[in-house]
């Protein structure tokens, strides 16, 4: 199939414009992290007066970035795993069973995504405090509290996407497994899950990114003990100085794992979307 001149021009212009738009902030972030403090406080330059990795060294001291990093990794990973497991069960039920209340469940869960975060921030905090008072389970200022909050943030979308994905898996497959004497749970584990891998990967990526980037709830629910990167990064603007170069360096460092992970798995993500959400 030959490309017309118009189509080619459109392609080149689109790619060029969007390429620049996308890359400039990334470039600024990377390059400013390699500048001495004097540079970032003075006029902007596209290239540092002297290249230095000093910001990458100092940033660990200015704020306890390492411990925030650990918190973020733990919170995001655990929330992702739990959310994935819960979503698998729920989507399996929705996709394979026709039970009373299915519609209500789907509607209710999915419409929670419409809630403005500010509406339930304070009530949620109060509920956590009450759980602590009545059941002795400490949720505010702990990773546990963040984990159970974050896992629900990605849950609705995950359930919706996985149910769509499961729907696309021919029912004959699990029927066959059942004929072989598998119970429904065995059928889920041995037949459906392996087939649904791209969908699972897509959902996992999505959950992880949701938790990794959350700011609003983290700013209220975290203390020194469980502060995540999302809030920790703001601490670089202290009373004395705004360490722009360290902020940028830290931004690069917190972005690298997630960007690399996402890019490595993007094929799966697109495949999962295609099969699940975008059918």
């Amino acid at each position: 199939m030959r490309e017309t001149t118009g189509a080619k021009a459109f392609r080149i212009v689109t790619i060029a414009v969007l390429g620049i738009f996308t890359i400039v902030p990334i470039w600024v972030m990377v390059i400013s992290g390699l500048k001495p403090l004097k540079d970032v406080q003075g006029d902007f330059t596209w290239w540092p007066s002297t290249l230095t990795i000093q910001p990458y060294i100092e940033m660990w001291q200015t704020v306890p970035l390492a411990s925030y990093f650990v918190n973020s990794v733990i919170v995001s990973s655990v929330a992702t795993v739990l959310s994935l497991i819960i979503a698998i069960f729920a989507s399996y039920a929705i996709s394979r069973y026709n039970f009373r209340g299915r519609t209500v469940f789907s509607t209710t869960v999915l419409s929670t995504q419409m809630l403005p975060g500010v509406l339930f921030l304070l009530p949620l905090f109060l509920i956590f405090v009450n759980i602590n008072t009545n059941f002795g389970l400490q949720l505010v200022g702990t990773r546990t509290g963040l984990i159970i909050t974050y896992l629900t943030f990605s849950l609705p979308f995950s359930i919706w996407m996985l149910a769509g994905y499961f729907d696309g898996i021919p029912r004959e497959l699990d029927e066959a497994a059942k004929v072989d004497g598998c119970g429904p749970m065995r059928a889920l584990l041995t037949v459906i899950l392996p087939t649904a891998r791209p969908g699972l990967v897509a959902v996992a990526i999505y959950s992880f990114m949701t938790s990794w980037g959350e700011v609003l709830f983290a700013s209220v629910m975290t203390t020194d003990a469980n502060r995540t990167l999302a809030v920790g990064l703001q601490l670089y603007s202290t009373q004395t100085n705004v360490y722009w170069n360290q902020i940028m360096a830290a931004s690069v460092v917190v972005s690298i794992p997630i960007v690399i992970g996402f890019l490595l798995l993007q094929k799966n993500f697109v495949a999962g979307l295609t099969a699940g959400a975008v059918k």
Binding site: T107, L110, Q113, G117, V129, N130, G141, A163, L216, V220
Partner: protein, 461 residues
């Protein structure tokens, strides 16, 4: 997909079928909502009194306290380094362990609010003293009655000016002073000398000097014109110079009086008509950037509290290169150069370690601890008869002590003070933004903005 308000993917209802299920669904939703409501009430009802849990109470027998400190040093870590030896000393003396958390100013207010709301709070905490009356009105803090004062060494050990900020007049205060701060006019000695100037003593002199110094890419002044707290403070100080009050005796806002409008107008004019402030200052959303400009010789004067010292030095200017005088008032106006700034200490009412908390407050406000902390945190003494030790520069110490003791007025000690700061402060941010983008702000504009601010405060009360 971390887009919406930290929340995600609705994409909802699409899965809902659009037929007979609907009727069933409706009924179901209703039942479901009712059940949820009951569950919610059941859970929240038990918490109506704000809970009683206290993180410090868990460790046996009142031997552990939780303390939230505000950020006073150059970084949160720096605060920890400064405070830890003192807390260690306290533990050695009393056997009480203190769990310290230093909280940045961005978070402090929200953290205090959630603590007040939930009752899950530290035993002892620092507050900006301008919030004292506002926080007092929540009823979440322990009033210092005479017994409590006796326990911490008596009310009279504090400087009276400082003690006045403890809460609303006529009530037992809910906070006691910890660190004293005051605004001063910092000036660059070399720049003044080169221009043949002496430090100003009246507003008019200050403006004339600033105009002379605004030359060759340098400016007479830097202001934190994008910081609503700084702006609110100077709205108050300038209004106070005009003898105007922000609240009537019964706590109603009186922002629109001529004295307030004129005061704000005078302050804005530093940028608008006098043009001695770089318009870029309109986006200085904290004092830091102005301090940077001053320390690097880009501006000749800044208005800052005395804890700017450590920042100025950290940015490369030596202590003998700058001088400080009181922020001057116009000729014939009231000699108010600052509000009584500083940090107070409060005890949460539902602490289970009241005695230990009082001991800790006593320790923190003891002469030895104060002397040890005033220097690194660049604070003025809040104890009567104590000497200012925050700087080795005797002249500067004298100037600030004089401002603090004689030329400071407390911000209004009313519950709505915090709302004054946010509404009027933010309105001033916008006025500076307008001026900086080439617009003009007339007195009528100021009055209109203040009317809106006043309405907002009235509506909230």
């Amino acid at each position: 997909m971390r887009i919406g308000s930290a929340r995600n993917a609705p994409a909802s209802n699409l899965r809902v079928s659009h037929d007979k299920d609907k009727e069933v669904a409706k009924v179901k939703i209703r039942t479901f909502a009712a059940a949820a409501a009951i569950a919610a009430l059941a859970i929240t009802a038990t918490g109506c009194s704000g809970g009683t849990s206290n993180s410090g109470a868990t460790a046996g027998g009142g031997k552990t306290l939780t303390y939230w400190a505000s950020n006073q040093g150059t970084s949160l870590d720096n605060d920890k380094e400064v405070l830890t030896p003192q807390l260690k000393k306290f533990q050695d003396e009393t056997g009480i362990k203190v769990n310290l958390e230093v909280i940045g100013w961005n978070d402090l207010q929200t953290r205090i609010q959630t603590a007040v709301t939930s009752g899950q709070a530290p035993d002892v905490l620092n507050i900006g003293n301008t919030w004292a009356a506002s926080l007092q009105s929540t009823g979440a803090f322990m009033p210092f009655d005479s017994a409590a004062f006796t326990a911490i060494g008596g009310k009279d050990k504090f400087v009276k000016t400082a003690m006045d900020t403890g809460g609303m007049p006529g009530q037992d205060p809910t906070s006691v002073p910890l660190y004293g701060l005051a605004y001063g006019l910092y000036y660059n000695k070399a720049m003044f000398k080169d221009a043949g100037l002496t430090p100003p003593t009246t507003w008019a002199e200050m403006v004339t000097d600033a105009k002379k110094l605004t030359t060759g890419g340098k400016y007479g002044f830097a202001l934190a014109a994008g910081s609503y707290t700084e702006n609110a403070h100077f709205a108050f100080i300038n209004a106070a110079q005009n003898g105007a009050d922000l609240f009537s005796a019964d706590g109603k806002p009186t922002f629109t009086s001529d004295g307030v409008v004129d005061g704000i107008s005078r302050y804005l004019d530093l940028m608008q008509t006098d043009k001695v402030v770089n318009v870029a200052n309109a986006q200085y959303d904290n004092g830091t950037k102005a301090v940077n400009d001053f320390a690097t010789g880009k501006v000749a004067m800044i208005l800052n509290q005395n804890n700017a010292d450590s920042s100025i030095v950290a940015n490369g200017m030596k202590n003998d290169q700058y001088g400080v005088v009181a922020f001057p008032a116009p000729a014939g106006a009231k000699d108010v150069a600052s509000h009584v700034a500083g940090i107070n200490m409060s005890i949460f009412k539902n602490t289970k370690n009241k005695d230990a908390a009082l001991k800790f407050v006593k320790f923190m406000t003891s002469p030895e601890t104060q002397t040890a902390l005033d220097k690194p945190f660049a604070a003025l003494p809040v104890l009567a008869g104590a000497k200012a030790v925050f700087t080795d520069n005797a002249q500067e110490a004298k100037t600030f002590s004089d401002i603090y003791a004689n030329k400071s007025k407390p911000l209004p000690l009313v519950p709505a003070e915090d709302q004054f700061e946010s509404t009027v402060g933010k309105a001033m941010n916008q006025m500076f933004a307008t001026i900086a983008s080439g617009g003009t702000v007339s007195k009528a504009d100021i009055k209109a903005a203040l009317t809106t601010a006043q309405q907002a405060v009235e509506a909230a009360g």
